[in-house]
């Protein structure tokens, strides 16, 4: 018995080819039509400061009228975002929809593109600096009331984005299963066999990228040349110390990843969360200080523009900055708040003391380092 009669075969073959072609060509999803906004919504979308709303109270009123805020890629245990979101919800009558907490910065931009024109598009972004500068023209310029407290190099002069919190690259370790590392090169010792994990893939995630830069500084490299960092990980793999597991709170708690290279605020948050369960300590290697600030921006096509702007005002108020500080992030208004005495002293004292100048990569250095990694990382750790 034949499965397909002769006559239908050409038709079916043609249908099959057409299906294949459409599958290969189509990758843009359907766009939903947006709800038409009122005049107020249009004004909010182009507001560049609280004055455009007739003062801060006008902004609060417009935001509460919108009633919702869409945020993306904010893990609850990342610089205390859980409390930041809940405090915002309690202070103002606005519901926060937190989507995709584990997304990367690029995935935030992808989501904004794919959901453009719908009610679910993200209103605000918390991004790595590289992705932010590359996509700056999709952000709405807005200067918060405390704009002048932030140093020039930590914000965009047109107000399209502003740094939010920073941290230093650190080594978190389980004090009960490994000796305390005093420098980056210590991790090559046999005591760390099969124990050292990096938070992500450096060709993917900003945190892992900064980890390679830290290794480069610790191995005799510099911000201009991170090849020693790749070399360090090659040696780590050859010594059998490198663990290709993605560290998460679960792997740290279960003891699968006894040493984690990640931002100091993430490692410190684990220390606090696992108190009594695991003796998680954090050390910032003084010879390899790598610092980076993440960046906050508002989506130019935000479905809730007033709520987005109110969120910005909240984050850069003393309350918001101190909540990040509670999550061990270094708030960008640090200097101004210390002078004004509004900083949370207890939390501030818990931040790691640094004895030298931290290195922050410029755009050119980041691009050069990224090119080096894309060519050499896979070979180094395979």
């Amino acid at each position: 018995m034949r499965l397909l009669p002769d006559r239908s075969r050409p038709t079916i073959a043609l249908l099959g080819a057409a299906l294949l072609l459409t599958a290969a060509c189509g990758d843009a999803p359907e766009r939903e039509t947006a709800s038409t906004g009122s005049d107020g919504a249009v004004a909010a979308a182009t507001a560049t400061s609280a004055e455009d709303f007739g003062g801060f109270d006008g902004l609060v009123e417009a935001a509460e009228a919108e009633g919702t805020l869409n945020v993306i890629a904010l893990p609850p245990d990342w610089t205390n975002y859980a409390e930041v979101i809940s405090t915002f919800e309690q202070t103002y009558d606005i519901e926060v929809n937190s989507a995709q907490p584990d997304a990367s910065s690029q995935e935030e931009i992808n989501a904004a593109e794919q959901l453009a024109g719908t009610d679910r598009a993200p209103d605000v972004f918390d991004l790595g600096p590289a992705v932010a500068t590359a996509n700056a023209d999709t952000f709405a310029p807005y200067k918060v009331q405390t704009w002048d407290d932030v140093a020039e190099e930590l914000k965009d002069s047109d107000g399209r984005y502003i740094s939010d919190y920073g941290g230093l690259m650190s080594i978190g370790y389980d004090a009960d299963s490994v000796p305390a590392p005093t420098s980056v090169m210590d991790l090559l010792k046999p005591e760390y066999r099969g124990k050292v994990a990096l938070n992500g893939d450096p060709t993917q995630a900003g945190a892992a990228f900064a980890g390679v830069v830290m290794a480069a500084l610790g191995n005799g490299g510099s911000a201009d040349d991170i090849a020693p960092g790749i070399e360090f990980f090659r040696q780590l793999k050859a010594a059998g110390n490198f663990l290709p597991v993605d560290p998460t709170p679960a792997t740290i708690a279960s003891g699968q990843t006894p040493v984690v290279i990640d931002w100091d605020y993430t490692n410190a948050a684990q220390s606090e969360a696992l108190e009594g369960q695991r003796n998680w300590e954090v050390v910032v290697p003084q010879e390899a200080l790598v610092s980076s600030y993440y960046v906050q921006a508002i989506n130019a096509d935000a479905p809730h523009p007033a709520a987005a702007r109110l969120w910005q005002e909240f984050l850069y108020s003393d309350v918001g900055q101190n909540l990040w500080l509670k999550g061990y992030g270094r708030p960008v208004r640090e200097v101004a708040m210390v002078e004004a005495g509004t900083i949370d002293e207890a939390a501030y004292a818990k931040l790691p003391q640094v004895s030298g100048e931290a290195v922050t990569l410029t755009e050119e250095q980041t691009a050069a380092a990224a090119a080096l990694l894309s060519g050499g990382w896979a070979e180094a750790i395979s």
């Binding site: 034949r2 995935e107 993917q204 894309s374 750790i381």
Partner: protein
Amino acid sequence: MVAGAFVDDSGTLTTANLRAAVSGPYLSAFARSLQLSAITAVVGAVLGALLAWAVVSGEPDGNLRRVVTSASGVLAQFGGVTLAFAFLATVGFEGLVTIFLRERGIDIFASGAWIFELPGLVLVYTYFQIPLMVIVFLPALDGLKPQWREAARNLGGSAWTYWRRVAGPVLAPAFFGSMLLLFANAFSAYATAAALVSQGAPIVPLQIRNLQTSEVLLGQQNLGRALGFGMVVVVAIVMGVYALLQRRTTRWLR
């Protein structure tokens, strides 16, 4: 995707993406993808064929056949996060089997964390390749008429003659066709690898993921599309050969 593969960031037509897609680290990724697909296709085909033969040798309406075909139907599609987790729970660092062996003095991770690299992918992929082989190859085995075996024996042939002269040539197109199907299946699998491997993107689907979602290497989406186009070309060639072999196979199934 095809359109994107041929343009650069500013929209001008270029073959730079395609040329980059077959050089340097991406060429190694293609090589590893092909290696992974070939190994799991061969292992899956051989073991799957043996299992299918065991099933066919039993009763046609028996329980063994029913259980194996139903289980194969489910397990052939069992992939992604659930499969990765199942393997980690069994042979991961704190897996059941790992701890069992560790208590008896055998450390299966003495030479490194292989389960998160290519060897781990080979093991995990074989898990859904074997059931797929059973499903695809069983009809061909069913098509072997017992009369042929009897005829061969009547004419004085041994079992070896039967397999070499009759069953072998009949089954060969089906066997190699199914192996190609397994190859294409492993080549394009993404979810399982994404769940299991987090460092180093050894295979092409993971490289594409990196290029689409990386926050370090920006503006490389078109290169990702070029890699996707390369994958489509490979699978199209494999499926073309499969279709040719299928024509030869169906000849005997009527």
